[in-house]
């Protein structure tokens, strides 16, 4: 009888541990998906495109890119390489093998560079019309 009770406790503990393991793997999976390079690259590229499209010349904007910096650092991408602008095409790159492009229609001359004072920001500078 005692042996049977002991077996029940062990199987319940195993069941609870497995459930907790399952839930933590699931939470980790959801967190990883939400903070993955593909999602962040797209989100930042589109954000920057919208900021540039709605900006007027001689404007300086600061964009908080803390999550992108963290991920890029982990993947060996330097801060200067994260955002690049070629003609009217923005590219955000957070891993060696990925990158997301999005174009903007505002015909302006833009400079982008990481902020040296505030470590989490990227500076988007609208210099003038082309």
């Amino acid at each position: 009888m005692k042996k049977k009770k002991g077996q029940m406790v062990v199987s319940n503990v195993i069941f609870i541990v497995l459930n907790l393991l399952f839930l933590s793997i699931l939470t980790l999976f959801i967190y990883k998906q939400g903070n993955g390079a593909i999602v962040l690259e797209q989100s930042y590229a589109k954000n920057i495109a919208l900021l540039i499209d709605s900006a007027k010349p001689i404007t300086e904007m600061k964009l908080n890119m803390k999550d992108a910096f963290k991920l890029a650092e982990k993947n060996g991408i330097s801060r200067e390489e994260i955002v690049t602008i070629n003609e009217n095409l923005i590219t955000v790159k957070l891993t060696e093998n990925s990158g997301y492009d999005y174009s903007f229609f505002n015909n302006v001359d833009v400079t982008v560079y990481p902020d040296l004072i505030s470590e989490n920001n990227y500076i988007i500078q609208i210099n003038g019309y082309k």
């Binding site: 999602v39 495109a49 919208l50 499209d53 709605s54 015909n107």
Partner: protein
């Protein structure tokens, strides 16, 4: 003895049942997450509104029509240079064909049926999408924004200006 064997069998079936439930839940959550994060952010509505506002600011600023477009009641705008005048660039190496279209109509107050002057720029193919703004496939089509406002030129001729902007870029904003 037979009873004990039945009980063990029942426990095994229950364990398999739990295992199946967990697999179904995990599969369901995986599919939901995959669908949620696999669907691109659709910013075309914002883009078309920003484009519309940029064109509105270019055509008329502070209630006065841009003098390089209308002077003394005469439309002097060069259709070819309209995008340059408004500092817009519809071309991109990202796309083979232009993904934008815009149409600006000037109506005199005594004749709101027929426009006195019209400016069309971009890819006209996307204009037809604006007529279908509902249904299952609506999101896959180009997104449109429209607004009209009142303005006067330098000699106080009054106009209603209607602006239509269309942004396609479906491949980058919708799961096709």
């Amino acid at each position: 003895m037979i009873k004990l064997q039945n009980k063990r069998g029942g426990e095994e079936i229950l364990a398999m049942y739990w295992f199946a439930i967990i697999l179904i839940i995990a599969g369901g959550i995986y599919l939901m997450i995959y669908y949620f994060y696999g669907t691109p952010y659709d910013i075309r509505d914002l883009e078309s509104r920003i484009l519309m506002n940029q064109i509105a600011d270019c055509v008329s600023y502070g209630g006065k029509i841009n003098s390089s477009l209308v002077l003394g009641g005469i439309f002097s705008v060069n259709q070819e240079n309209f995008l340059d005048t408004c500092h817009l660039n519809f071309n991109s190496s990202e796309w083979d064909v232009e993904q934008f279209y815009t149409e600006v109509n000037f109506y005199e107050l005594d004749n709101l049926e027929n426009s006195s002057f019209m400016i069309k720029k971009g890819n006209e193919d996307w204009e037809a999408n604006c007529e279908i703004q509902e249904g299952e496939d609506y999101e896959k089509l180009a997104q449109c924004a429209e607004k009209s406002f009142y303005s006067v030129d330098e000699t106080n001729n009054q106009y209603i200006i209607k602006i239509l902007t269309v942004v396609r870029k479906s491949e980058k904003n919708v799961k096709l």
